[in-house]
């Protein structure tokens, strides 16, 4: 039964021939604007695919944002249950212009011979006039039509329904259940895909132990649309489909006009000739304990100190623990949380699939609007580096961050052999790749940092020793050897040794120069003596005469 809502003046219906935007992230872009307005659309999917959520979201958004009142008839669930479903999402409650009509086909439905849908269409006419309905959902119509024993009658009745919707110029969404192969509809609506203007498939794929949902437009009569299968997730905000339009090069970015973002580590900024390019993505790799989270925290702290909004997403670790750990090097992230600049969130990696995780992160981004973001570690999302669902999700995240000019630092764990396998694919996508490592020598384990790549930056190729202190992080020059290098205590000892040697060498040179000077003076004296002696001899040989006397 339709809920008792006072009749109201019918709102002006949008012009026919245009599209009806669903307002579902990604969907309207794929559909080239929205569902065919005034035409029927079929949404096919198996149980749990999210058909009902899709339909409810399209109706809620239509009523809320497009001024199109909606009518929802479910043949499988009562209006109360549907209302609760709407309220369970962050859609702002049930809009006044969304109406539910109970059409539950229960076990007590009795039939004696064929029935037809003429009465249902008359009821729809009545409800549409009463509430000024623009969008209609018939959810689970196969439950009803499937009770018709004759397949010819079933087809006739469904065609009658489609003709009715076209004549009334109302946007209709029908749901259909997939029977095993998604291409096959349950018998109740078999063949209806040929009569509708648009067919959307919601499917589930499995890759290894990972499941993902995909959204695909199998048919859109008279309209261009994106044709691939796009992953989607269902979050507290409903369905979000991962779709990015073609990349439009940003000439400002190419020209370096966007500028740089300091990392918060002065020495690293020097190596990067100023910092990270604004809107770029940096991958920070290293084995556990190499200070990836520390550098990430410094980056976030620096952003907030500049007054930028920032988001730090922690995988499988609680924000309060990370905040406490970072306090040991003088970072006070809590103050940034308290003043609203920093949002700290965490994700349990095993609790959901990669698409779901990325959708949740994108929701946080939409809510908080950060200029800088940290994902720590990304390798919790891209676990194997070979699962395409995980890689697709991570790439989608990176592309979205780029499109929004969000400067990102993502950490990634390396394996025991120090291979960056977990995110090897991502390292090719990232703009900057900084690698952290350990060097063990003379009984010490010390951290070193190298910039593997930094697109668009004439960066240093030197290895630096990363030194953690109470006052933060500094990057010291390492001591190069013919083969390898010295770091830590060995470096300091060698440097002190070199210093002493240099001082000794300098003294030695000074002593030598002094000796040379003394020798020179002695020689000058000797030369003077010999010259005098020579003059004496010459004087005696001339009989005491002067040189002038001989002429």
């Amino acid at each position: 039964m339709t809920e008792s809502v006072p009749a109201q003046e019918a709102p002006r219906r949008p012009a026919p021939g245009t599209k009806a935007p669903t307002g579902i992230p990604g969907v309207d872009e794929i559909l080239g604007g929205g569902l065919p307005r005034g035409r029927p659309t079929l949404v096919i999917g198996d149980a749990g695919a999210g058909k009902t959520v899709f339909c409810l979201q399209a109706l809620v958004n239509g009523a809320t944002h497009s001024g199109e009142p909606g009518l929802y008839l479910s043949f499988e669930e009562d209006g109360g249950g549907l209302r609760r479903t709407v309220e369970s999402f962050a859609w702002g409650g049930v809009p006044d212009d969304l109406h539910f009509h109970d059409a539950l086909v229960g076990d007590d439905f009795e039939s004696q011979g064929d029935f037809d849908l003429a009465g249902l269409l008359a009821i729809l006419d009545h409800l549409c006039e009463r509430h000024g309905i623009s969008r209609i959902v018939l959810d689970g119509l196969d439950q009803l039509v499937g009770l018709l024993p004759d397949p010819v009658v079933r087809e006739h009745e469904t065609r009658k329904l489609l003709g009715w919707i076209r004549a009334r110029d109302r946007t209709l969404i029908l749901t259909g259940k997939a029977l095993g192969d998604p291409a096959v509809l349950r018998f109740g609506l078999a063949g209806i895909e040929y009569g509708v203007d648009c067919v959307i498939r919601l499917e589930r794929e499995r890759s290894g132990g990972t499941v993902r949902r995909t959204f695909n437009v199998a048919k859109y009569r008279g309209s261009a649309h994106a044709e691939n299968a796009y992953p989607y997730a269902i979050t507290s905000k409903g369905i979000a489909v991962s779709y990015l339009a073609s990349y439009v090069p940003d000439m400002n970015r190419a020209a370096g006009v966007l500028g740089t973002v300091p990392t918060g580590v002065y020495d690293l900024d020097e190596m990067l000739r100023g910092g990270l390019i604004r809107g770029s993505t940096t991958l920070l790799t290293g084995s556990p304990g190499t200070a990836k989270t520390t550098l990430s925290g410094i980056f976030i702290d620096a952003a907030c100190r500049r007054g930028d909004r920032a988001l730090m997403v922690l995988y499988d670790d609680y924000p309060d623990r990370v905040v406490a750990n970072l306090r040991s090097i003088g970072l006070d992230l809590k103050s940034h949380v308290d003043n609203g600049l920093l949002r700290l969130e965490y994700i349990v990696s095993s609790a959901s699939g990669p698409e779901q995780q990325v959708a949740v992160i994108l929701n946080w981004i939409a809510e908080h609007g950060p200029a800088c973001i940290v994902i720590d570690p990304l390798s919790a999302l891209v676990r194997s580096g070979r699962n395409r669902f995980e890689i697709d999700a991570a790439e989608k995240l990176i592309q979205t961050l780029r499109a929004r000019d969000i400067t990102a630092v993502m950490t990634s764990l390396t394996d025991a052999e120090n291979h960056e396998t977990s995110a090897s694919h991502i390292s090719t996508v990232a703009d900057t790749w900084i690698h952290l490592d350990y060097g063990i020598r003379s009984g010490e384990r010390n951290r070193v940092l190298t910039i593997v790549k930094a697109r668009g930056i004439g960066h240093s190729n030197k290895v630096r020793e990363l030194v953690l202190g109470d006052d933060g992080v500094r990057l010291d020059k390492v001591y190069p050897l013919e083969q390898g290098m010295l770091i830590g205590g060995a470096r300091i000892a060698r440097e002190q040794q070199d210093f002493a040697q240099a001082r000794e060498d300098r003294q030695s040179v000074a002593d030598r120069l002094q000796r040379q000077a003394q020798d020179r003076l002695r020689l000058i004296d000797r030369i003077a003596q010999l010259s005098e002696e020579l003059r004496q001899i010459d004087r005696v040989g001339n009989g005491g005469a002067s040189d002038d006397d001989q002429h």
Binding site: M1, F109, E110, Q112, F115, A118, G119, A122, D125
Partner: protein, 95 residues
Amino acid sequence: MMTSIDHGAGLRLRLFIVAGSPGSRIALSNLERVMAEAGIDRASVEIVDVSEAPDKAVAAGVLVTPTLDVTRGDRHFQISGRLNDVPGVIGRLAG
């Protein structure tokens, strides 16, 4: 053999149809046979054209046509379809 229907129980029949629909015409004809064979008073039967009075169908929770809405005492049920099986319908009304 005529099935006995206890008319004292306050039998009320409403047949929801769409005028002009072939299925509705057949259902009307079959209902006439049910009434004749079961001795049901015409006064206890109402024919509702859903295209004229959709609010009555909405109020009764009717989804399709033809649908026979049956109230008998505190019992209430609906039979959808053309009512082709007249003895079966009478049996259901008597049950």
